[in-house]
């Protein structure tokens, strides 16, 4: 079968060689790319980082209004905080995924002119978003500490956040490579994110889901993240071992798969950018 992005290999029997290796200070490069994204985003805004906080607070208030005043539900205490536990990891996931996906196109001028290691571009886009969304995470932790209190189960936060970032980095690598070849990919990601908002237990509780539909959630990494976060912040218990194990395995697997796909597609980026 002919791949949609077939190479010239069918014409020339010699395989396409990889781009020459780049040597240098990888972390300094990532740092500079992250700072670039971050500075460009906030330089022309008078409120700067505050926008990052206003967005989830507005969403939280609206959802709180709808689901406590219009559809009253008496059985979830701290409903606003409950919603925020869903919104913040959802925002991290969707924003990192989307900006990672479009990062190669956005930085086409760099890729076509400087022999920079291409993996650094989507990775830096994900990190830049994490840095930006750190404000939301801190807001969530602050509100949880104020409303419920700090507990030693909070140590688990140090495990689950890196796992989510690892997972979305793999996804960003994979989709950024696809997006070079087929520009529609970005809209697929955007639509998926809209669907995901309702398929992740953000406004509702996992326990309300009828048993026959739970399968949809068992393989949903964002849902796992939300449940783990609610365990820790609202119930003050450690997340289930099976959930953590599944999250760890799927995150590492996703990252490796993303990297492999990226490397496979990388040699011909230049021709399509």
């Amino acid at each position: 079968m002919r791949l949609p992005f077939s190479t010239n290999a069918d014409r020339f029997p010699v395989p396409v060689r990889p781009v020459r290796n780049w040597t240098g200070d990888y972390w300094y490069l990532i740092e500079n790319l992250v700072l670039k994204d971050f500075k460009i985003r906030y330089r022309n805004m008078s409120l700067g980082m505050f926008w990052s906080l206003i967005n989830p607070l507005v969403m939280m208030s609206v959802l709180w209004f709808v689901f406590t005043r219009i559809f009253p539900n008496a059985n979830i205490p701290h409903y606003a905080l409950f919603v925020l536990c869903g919104l913040v990891p959802f925002n991290v996931f969707t924003m990192c995924w989307l900006s990672g996906t479009i990062s190669l196109i956005d930085n086409a001028h760099l890729i076509k002119r400087v022999p920079v290691p291409r993996e650094a571009i989507p990775v830096a886009a994900v990190f830049a978003n994490c840095l930006q969304l750190l404000a939301q995470v801190l807001l969530l932790l602050f509100l949880a500490a104020a409303a419920i209190g700090i507990h030693r189960s909070w140590f688990w936060l140090l495990a689950i956040w890196p796992l989510e970032v690892l997972f979305v980095t793999g996804l960003a690598l994979m989709f950024s490579a696809f997006n070079v070849y087929v520009r529609d990919v970005r809209y697929v990601v955007e639509s998926t994110n809209v669907v995901l908002f309702w398929l992740v237990p953000i406004v509702y509780d996992f326990r309300w889901i009828p048993a026959q539909y739970r399968i949809i959630y068992a393989y949903n990494p964002v849902a796992a993240m939300v449940m783990a976060l609610r365990n820790i912040l609202l119930d003050q218990t450690a997340p289930a071992g099976t959930l953590l194990a599944k999250a760890a395995i799927s995150s590492v697997a996703m990252f490796l798969l993303g990297l492999a796909v990226f490397r496979r597609l990388r040699p011909r980026f230049y021709n399509f950018l």
Partner: protein, 248 residues
């Protein structure tokens, strides 16, 4: 290191697709369904072989679309060849387009750091060269202003300053020295000559022989991706000029 050439092309072929709306899902599906290879290809380079020794300066001549920029992109490692081998020994810095690694919303200083990092420098190495880069570009008053407030001459000076001060072994220049005032151009030529004296390698692209003749000893003439002539610059320049005159 000196026993081997700085840049080596062995029977290099490079083709590009002509994109005719090919980046959309629709056209990928169409190709899958029709089983027809509708992609037009054109050869940017056909079976090009040459060597550049360390310390040599080479000019590449040819009309628009002759494959000159493709050749430099291959040396810079931006794109792999379809067939053949491209070898470049040493750190390559490219001045391929006016301030191409720069972002207009970042300040001059931030752009210098970003470019140094892109070329593989560490924080320490960057800091050590920062002052020299700013001094050479003569834009110290503007260095904390965003790049979009710069004139094109200032951006060019900064780009040139970054490229030559990051101490590459091989410098690629793609027709950028035409910008800037006479004083700065003279300074750039001085720096390039100094670069040559230190045994570094230069590859530059030029439409006309005039500028290149001042610092290149040798030239390649490319036409439609084929290497027409490789030799002493005066000789190649004459042949190319003769071809242009005959065509006109």
């Amino acid at each position: 290191m000196s026993s081997q050439p700085a840049v080596e092309f062995r029977e290099v072929w490079k083709t590009f697709h002509r994109h005719t709306g090919q980046l959309l899902l629709r056209s990928h599906f169409k190709r899958l369904l029709t089983w027809k290879d509708s992609v037009e290809r054109f050869h940017a380079l056909r079976d090009v072989s040459f060597q550049v020794e360390h310390g040599e300066s080479l000019a590449v001549m040819g009309k628009n679309g002759a494959g000159k920029s493709t050749l430099l992109s291959l040396v810079a490692g931006l794109v792999p060849p379809d067939r053949g081998d491209v070898l470049a020994r040493g750190r390559v810095a490219a001045l391929l387009e006016l301030g191409s690694g720069f972002h207009p919303d970042l300040t001059g200083l931030e752009n210098i750091r970003l470019n140094a990092a892109l070329l593989g420098f560490s924080r320490k190495q960057t800091a050590a060269r920062l002052e020299e880069i700013v001094d050479f570009a003569e834009i110290s008053d503007f260095i904390r202003e965003p790049l979009r407030t710069y004139s094109s001459g200032m951006i060019m000076r900064l780009a040139f300053s970054v490229a030559v001060n990051l101490d590459p072994d091989i410098l690629l220049i793609d027709e950028v020295l035409t910008v800037g005032d006479a004083g700065f151009q003279a300074k750039c030529f001085d720096r390039i000559l100094d670069f040559r004296r230190r045994g570094k390698t230069i590859l530059c692209v030029s439409h006309a022989a005039g500028m290149a003749e001042r610092f290149c000893g040798r030239a390649l003439w490319l036409d439609h991706g084929e290497l027409m002539l490789d030799g002493e610059i005066g000789e190649v320049g004459c042949a190319y000029q003769g071809y242009l005159n005959a065509g006109a």
